[in-house]
Amino acid sequence: MGTIGATLARAGRRFVSSLPALFGVLVFTFLLMRVLPGDPAVFFASGPNAGQEEIEVIRRQLGLDKPLPNQLAIYLADVARGNLGRSMMTGQAVAKDLKERLPASLELTLTALLIALVSAVPLGVVAALRPGSLLDHGVRLFCSLGVCVPTFVSGLLLIYVFYYLLGFAPDPTGRIDIFTTLPPSRTGFLLIDFLLAGDLDGWSAAARQLMLPAFTMALFVIAPLARITRASMLVSLGSDFIRTARSVGLSWWRIVVTYALRNAVLPVITIAGIVFSTMLGANVLVEKVFSWPGVASYALDALLVSDYAPVQGFVLLMATIFVIVNLLVDLLYGIADPRATVA
């Protein structure tokens, strides 16, 4: 109980101490967007006859006619009130867009991470049990193969093979087959919503839809996870307490799993947190390829047309998630490693 309390207190401190970073991200993105040479007013005043006047109207609408410090102040005040502005591109409030799209991204990323972990950890363990063996090299090669193909290529190839040629996979047009009726949205995660609604057909449809993009992403992150598992497993297997465990005659399973693996899992948690955060931001390409209505592709589109609000909102969201994931990792770490609380 004391440990949990200490862990929570530490997490709280961590959160508070990461607020300046969030603020930095906020301001930095704001400035970065203004540095972009594109003028959203011009771009969006794109009607066949839009002239200078229309441009001015949009500029005023976006508040871009004010001096930069004022804009920043207004923006910060808005953010403080939970208003992330409006997207010119979709015409919606950014907060609403992000809220609708975030579950899609999260669902995809979490599934991918799960797939990656489920395959990477055993692979890493197996490799670490026989370092230098053929098996070890094989695992390394396999993992590295995954990480060296750009996701957009592996994505398009998977589509080509599994959808176009074989027809196993459903059409790569988003989260759910268009003809499936959606479950009432409770969490935004389709897999969960379908379960809650008790619609198993829908669930399997959504799962099928999720498979290809999730695999595409998972392939890319298996390598770092397996690598860290192998490395920390090696360290853990080589450490003194394993020798102790052997010296008192514990069973193989207990030594490898309870003693070695549980200790080795700690760095894996940290890396998994980092991987998760980067995946969430970096799956632009996968989302594009699979028409996945996630936040990253949303931000990309907005970026190309200099639509400030969505990009700013997205970056802020990602930074917040980054902080939260770090907190979770901390908490997990605190639970998994009693030493963490003293540090």
Binding site: S247, R254, P338
Partner: protein, 562 residues
Amino acid sequence: MLGASGDAHMTAPLLELENLKVTFSTRRGFVEAVRGVSLSLKPGEMLGLVGESGSGKSVTGFAITHLLDKAGRITDGRIRFKGQDITRAGSADLRSLHGAAMAMIFQNPRAALNPIRTIGQQIADAILAHRRLSRREAQAEALQLLRAVQIRDPERRMSAYPHELSGGMCQRVMIAIAISCSPQLLIADEPTTGLDVTTQKVVMDLLAHIAAERGMATILITHDLGLAARYCARVVVMEQGRLVEEAAPLTLFHRPQHPYTKRLVAASPTASSRIEDLVPDGERIPLVDVAELPPPPHGTPLLLDVKAIGKRFDDGTVGVADFSMTMRGGESVGLVGESGSGKSTTSRMICRLIDPSDGEILFDGQSIGQIPARDFHRSALRKDIQIVFQDPNDSLNPRYTAFDCIAHPLLRLLNMRGGDRLRQRVEECADRVGLPRELLPRFPHQLSGGQKARVGIARAIACKPRLLVLDEPTAALDVSVQAVVLQLLNRLRREDNLAFLFVSHDLNVVRMMCDRTIVLRTGVIVEQGESRALFANPQTDYTRELVDAVPHIAAPAELLPA
């Protein structure tokens, strides 16, 4: 304790080693670590296995318990346990053997425990590996064991993690795990190195007590002759993978037969030994002046005047408080105290590597405490205060050759350029510390511990300092190497009229090396005075404890029948 072996010749041996050979395959080919060891151990007997580092003690222990590294193989010989040949035991046999029949206790207890499992669980794991009990029963038994190893507050410790315990407590837990399934054989591999002097004694007493109580045969592996002498009925000496001598401790220490044993015995400092005695005559470094160092005449100006310095770290811990001392040129002062008492902090402050938070340091009448440590490297006095570090392994830059290391202060502090003069000077230093010139182009990882220590000393004396701070310069060295190094230091001091600030936790060494001694505890001076007098008649309990805890071979007069 000695009684166990009294009528033991009747009983069959518990363990027999017959010409045991262990080979490691490394990339430089095969290394024979144990080259034919034969010994036998009776039930309940406590056997000491001593020898220098690398002599094959641990490997022998691991071979017996079949815990050798993957690279190591028993190539020859036979291990018989209770009459059964277990040399090539299969993994199933081994599992029932491990823990239940033989158990091992390791050096560095904290690392030997699983950091993320509670003490209770770990002991229970060991119990459950051999007995069909429920977890609850196992836990109850674990608690019993914790009581048996006399841990304070055993109920609470059950759910503690290793990092929440002190080193001594961890070692007790380790002992509890080892005895959990009442093995007949216990192998304790340097169970007390890394522990505080005072804790060392308590743990060893406990181990001996438990072994005797439960009738466990014990092999105590150690490089500390004093320790072996104190607890074992029989001691075997190992050198380069071979047993060279076997005898009862007293015989061994007072009438060693084998030259190696002789050297080893001589090198172990005792309550009465002098530096000159540590090294056998042949290897003794001739001294300029063999007589006792006369205390520096009273007129000599103060070399060092430390006035009430203190150190408070950023996190609020007070490392040292209100520390004052003076030193004259050529004087040697010892600084002792338990671990964490502030010895290193003090020596670094005096050496101007860290800034004191308050107080004043005068060197040769000049105030140096005011110069920030950041800028002290530019001070002209930098070359006058040098330091030798504890661990020779990490005191040399892995990317510098021995030559570079010694040349470094010459280049930086004496502004010497490369070329012949530098080479000459470096070689001169090497000669003075007895470092063969052909070792100069080597990198640290190509040198032995003693050689590294010499490089470190050569570096420190290269630019002829006036004050040398020695922070446990021999703590990581073997006794025989330590003897040589101590002697070397002593000679250098006389030759150059160096002043020493000698930090150590080995009181015997401090007594030999230092004119005066300061005893530190939690950053505060508890006692100081002339070394001999201080150790002969400690004024505070703390000092007395420190003195008592040092294991030594009792003087012949006390123990040997006339």
